[in-house]
Amino acid sequence: MAERSFKAEVEHLRKGDGDTFTGEGILALTKALLENGVGYVGGYQGAPISHLMDVLADAQDLLGELGVRYEANASEAAAAAMLAASVHYPIRGAVTFKGAVGVNVASDALANLASSGVTGGALIIVGEDYGEGSSIMQERSHAFAMKSQFWLLDPRPNLPSIVKSVGDGFALSEASNTPVMMMVRIRCCHVTGQFATRDNQRPPLTVRDALSEPRKDFSRVVLPPMSYQHEQDKVKNRWPAAETFIRENGLNEVLGPDRAKVGIVVQGGMYNGVIRALQRLGLADIHGQTEVPLYVLNVTYPLVSSEFLEFCEGKDAVLVVEEGQPEFIEQQLATYLYRAKAPVAMHGKDIFPMAGEYTGQVMLDSIESFLRQAAPDLLPGQVLAPNEPAPEIPDLSQTVPIRPPGFCTGCPERPIFAALKLVQQDLGQHQISGDIGCHLFAALPPFEVGGQTMGYGLGPASNAAFDGGGARRAISILGDGGFWHNGLSSSIGNMVYNKSDSVAVIVDNFYSAATGGQDIPSSRASNPSKATNNPIAKAVRGVGVKWVREIDRTYDVPQMRKVFEEALTTDYKGPKVIIASSECMLNRQRREKPQKAKAVKEGRRVEAPRFGVDEDICTGDHACIRLSGCPSLGLKKLDDPLRDDPIAHIDHTCVGCGNCGEVADAAILCPSFYEARVVHNPGGFERWRKGVAARAIGWLQRRREERRLVFLDQSQIEAAE
């Protein structure tokens, strides 16, 4: 079960000739795959391409009707390897994952695939996670296309262009026997718009059909001497074929006037940003009709020399708009100009910043600066000499706090790190390595647990140098997603084989949670098309771990703490693995909330827990928050002149996970927390029993309160009035 249900979107996938699709870019792209007769689709989830996987996972019926095989691959490497089906068979295949991290993982398979070459169109859809909103290291997938020589598409970020690009990509791949990578940036994946749909196409040859007539050709195997031939084939045949296809089919676009002194070369994905800058400079209209000629690279690798040189003809200067570093495109184009001895001045990263996102401001400033240098007569007077003084707005940089992502309300990972923080307070600071996944948020305040992350499933592996014992054992964190992705072999197997004396914590929240709550082999849900309920503990023991501790309720902070202490102090020398399991609260709430609401309505007994803080008892030290950071645990300023500091306060979004109370107990913080468990539709006996207790308690309370002064607070006075 993914975070969202995509049943509604699946209906969009059924649209045909004459219909219009309205929605997000990534869904349009998914539809385009079916329109282009794809035979199999796979991938590994991750922002911003998760929705492609999620929608197809919910579209099993449609895929079955079309004879399309869908695979939720174990990793990006597995996904890329699946494209092997297009090596010998004329079947179109597509896989998707996020760049640059997914491409890194996939690069082994991609390099082999590129060497072998393909018969059927092979498309790798990469969600390029760069700039604002990105969660990974800032790199470009471009380099992979260059090193392995497969082609890279970077379509303009609108739905018709993305959809066209899918068809172009398959055709280009088949025309040049080369896999094609299509890059879509974060905002492009989530951009909304419309396009005219076409009927879905059954693949001419399905993977099922192919199995009945297996093919092989040892010249495609990456072994010497064939691998030497592959390299020659790449440059002598496949590359020229690609260039010819790109030129003949007009994959790149030249827009604007034919003759001009200057021009701009732009990656397709950067097109809208360039047009907006030109619009703001009065040089383009609302539909993108531009005064400055544009050479739009919908294919950013290979770069077609002849096409580029034609664009430059008669121009004094061109500007290359290329986001990210280093400036691969600019270097290549400069080489073309130099070899052609062309008298054209070339600008790019000399004006644009080398690194970082090309935001609207960067685009405006850089293009304006280029035009100022190369063609000042194009710029309107107001731009040349602006007369509006910038308004003075107070500086808020010291006021506004940073707000990085963190654990959700009720997250089962919070108590794990609260326990670990407490253990470190007792046993001292430890060497701790993180991994990829929600649990990496523990590196931020208030926990500040873990100081590095080396890749998905590599948490324990990245502690390998520290695995030989020492003053204190090294600790590593690994999520269940990372465990199945790569961690079982690279991290746990590695620990076993090398007799590691360290501790690995596997955070098992039943989903690949950070990528949107997709199922994984250890998920507890039953999934009609996937095998779930494969316990991590079994896998870990299977590869040879002897010391395994399983915790099935992470919210039990004292227990978590005890297990950590045991793992860190035991005499046992081998690898120690703690599996901490509790369901991702975001997904649990999505699942349980409607069920509970329904049960309450139907008159069934339901308990609804929520936590609270006694205002008179809380002293406002906020120690609880330093062991939590829960969004529902905030502060409240009391209207009491005797109090200086705001007190802790739990708002109505609390889901009653229990972390506050558990932490207050485990860390011996304070007695302020209470859990109030409202019972909906209690049974008759329960009501009677509670009534008796309430009457007895009421009598005791009256007895005491009648003999002393009782001060009424403001709300009671109001109520009395």
């Binding site: 909304t192 609302i286 609207g360 007695p671 209470y674 409202v678 005791l700 009782v710």
Partner: protein
């Protein structure tokens, strides 16, 4: 809409008037606030009403409680596909919706709110960032700075607590923000068109429409004033009930409060209530004795600041946080009623208290001599601690749990004879003597010394840490006593102590004090 004025007087070229028709709208929110729903509504609204529209977002990890941004552009249908931007640009945003006060600040910081064009719709409620919450003192960012900046930066400003408005209607903030957008008139669509968009989405329609209406009305009011602090306690006595004799004695104490100088009165009234509530009328009389003793050292020239601060911190020192107080507070009928009301509880509500008393806290309840005898031997304490030190979950909705706390509450009668009381009173006397001893020579330092009492708070380890910070600050203040800027240093030391848990800032401050206050080689 006046986008065009900026680039209007073109020397030549294509002054495309239609560009002025593009409306640029950004939503800055905290992940999980429903910015996606709001974006969908706005998009549907635009498309239904003859506009081309494009929306984008950077969902991803940002949705997990981090700051995130949605961006929408729209333009009247123009017979072709408009080229819209995928991200907002500084100085180029017509409508900025901030779903939280500091996100409004972030929008202003990033230049998305400019006086020539931007309508800023901001919810004034706060979702505190972790960095604000984890400070041991008060680390909450000042919303007034954002408000002041917004008033300068925005062309049109709409500010209201749209979160509360929505929750009151059983809905969420996306609906009230949508209403405020409609009410702002920033988009050229009638109210009914907005409501149609909500109806078309088909989920929780009625509640959404109610929240929408609340947001719409808020927008018509424009800027709501900063939350006015609730009226200060009326000068009459706080409402009190009890046996006649006790009420009469209480009123007699109140007349003593009324004899205090104006600035100290309010504080002393609150303080008196706190200590009487903590113990009894006689304890209240003791409290007033102490405050009046301070008044004798004070003067009107200084505005009776010393008396006022003494009234505050003596009350806090006398009503210390012991187990008896906790048990008493947790068993009161008013508390049960309050929780039931907050939780919207029906007939049956289970109530679990999370308690974890340690040996030392129990020993402190013993008669002073017995307690002291225990404390003299570490072994005895350790053995006793093993016996009692464990987490206890008490069900106070049940008779068994309730009675346990009720009985501890009964120990109030013997509190004055117990070890904790003796310790607390000795500590208070030392602190008061030190502070008041400075009143003659350095009035401001005396005031600051009394204020250091703020450092002592919490239970168990937290309490111990507070005490140790208090001791260190007091020792450092002693080093600067006699200097002109002593009071200033005392204040700085105290603030440093409150800024982080481990006391790193305090260490730094103490080191600085030492560097100039201690003679070389000392």
């Amino acid at each position: 809409m006046n986008v065009q004025t900026k680039t209007a007087p073109l020397a030549a070229r294509t002054p495309d008037q239609r560009l002025g028709g593009i409306i640029k709208l950004a939503i800055m929110a905290v992940g999980g606030q429903g910015g996606g729903v709001l974006t969908n509504w706005i998009e549907a609204l635009a498309r239904e009403n003859g506009y081309d529209c494009q929306a984008t977002s950077v969902a991803g990890v940002a949705q997990r409680t981090g700051a995130t941004i949605y961006y929408i552009e729209m333009a009247p249908l123009s017979g072709g596909m408009p080229i819209f931007s995928l991200a907002p640009s500084g100085g180029d945003v017509d409508v900025l919706i901030a779903a939280e006060m500091m996100e409004a600040g972030r929008a202003i910081m990033r230049g998305f709110v400019t006086p020539d064009r931007t309508t800023l719709i901001a919810s004034t409620h706060r979702m505190l960032a972790v960095s604000e919450k984890m400070v041991p003192g008060d680390g909450i960012a000042d919303p007034e700075e954002v408000r002041a900046a917004a008033e300068i930066a925005a062309k049109t400003l709409i500010m209201a607590d749209l979160d509360t408005l929505a929750t009151r209607q059983g809905s969420v903030i996306s609906a009230s923000l949508f209403g405020a957008l409609a009410g702002s008139g920033a988009l050229p669509f009638p109210r009914e068109a907005y409501e149609a968009a909500i109806r078309a989405s088909g989920k929780g329609v009625e509640a959404s429409l109610r929240a929408f209406a609340a947001g719409f009305e808020a927008a018509e009011r424009g800027v709501e004033p900063a939350q006015v602090p609730e009226a200060p306690p009326s000068p009459t006595a706080p409402m009190v009930t009890g046996p006649k004799g006790l009420v009469a004695q209480w009123e007699a104490l109140l007349t003593r409060v009324q004899a205090l100088p104006g600035p100290a009165q309010e504080m002393a009234r609150a303080g008196l209530r706190k200590v009487v509530d903590f113990q009894d009328i006689a304890y209240g009389a003791e409290y007033l004795d102490r405050v009046e003793a301070v008044l004798a050292l004070d003067s009107a020239e200084q505005g009776h600041e010393l008396t006022k601060e003494a009234a505050k911190y003596i009350a806090n020192a006398m009503a210390y946080d012991d187990v008896i107080r906790v048990a008493d507070l947790k068993t009161r009928s008013a508390r049960f009623a309050r929780i039931r009301q907050q939780m919207n509880a029906g007939e049956v509500m289970q109530l679990t208290e999370y308690l974890h008393p340690r040996g030392a806290e129990i020993v402190s309840l013993f008669p002073a001599r017995l307690g002291a005898w225990f404390e003299r031997s570490e072994r005895r304490m350790a053995r006793f601690d093993r016996l009692v030190n464990k987490g206890r979950r008490l069900r106070t909705d049940g008779l068994r749990g309730f009675v346990q706390l009720y009985i501890i509450g009964m120990l109030k009668k013997r509190r004055r004879g117990n070890l904790r009381h003796r310790t607390e009173m000795a500590h208070m006397t030392r602190w008061l003597d030190t502070g008041l001893g400075r009143a003659g020579s350095d009035y401001a330092l005396a005031v600051e010394t009394l204020r250091c009492r703020r450092l002592i708070k919490g239970y168990s380890d937290t309490h111990a840490r507070g005490l140790s910070k208090f001791d260190r600050v007091m020792a450092a203040i002693a080093l600067v006593e006699g200097r002109q800027d002593a009071a200033d240093w005392a204040r700085r030391l105290r603030e440093a102590a409150l800024s982080d848990e481990e006391g790193k800032a305090l260490d730094g401050a103490i080191q600085t004090v030492r560097s100039f206050a201690e003679p070389e080689g000392a």
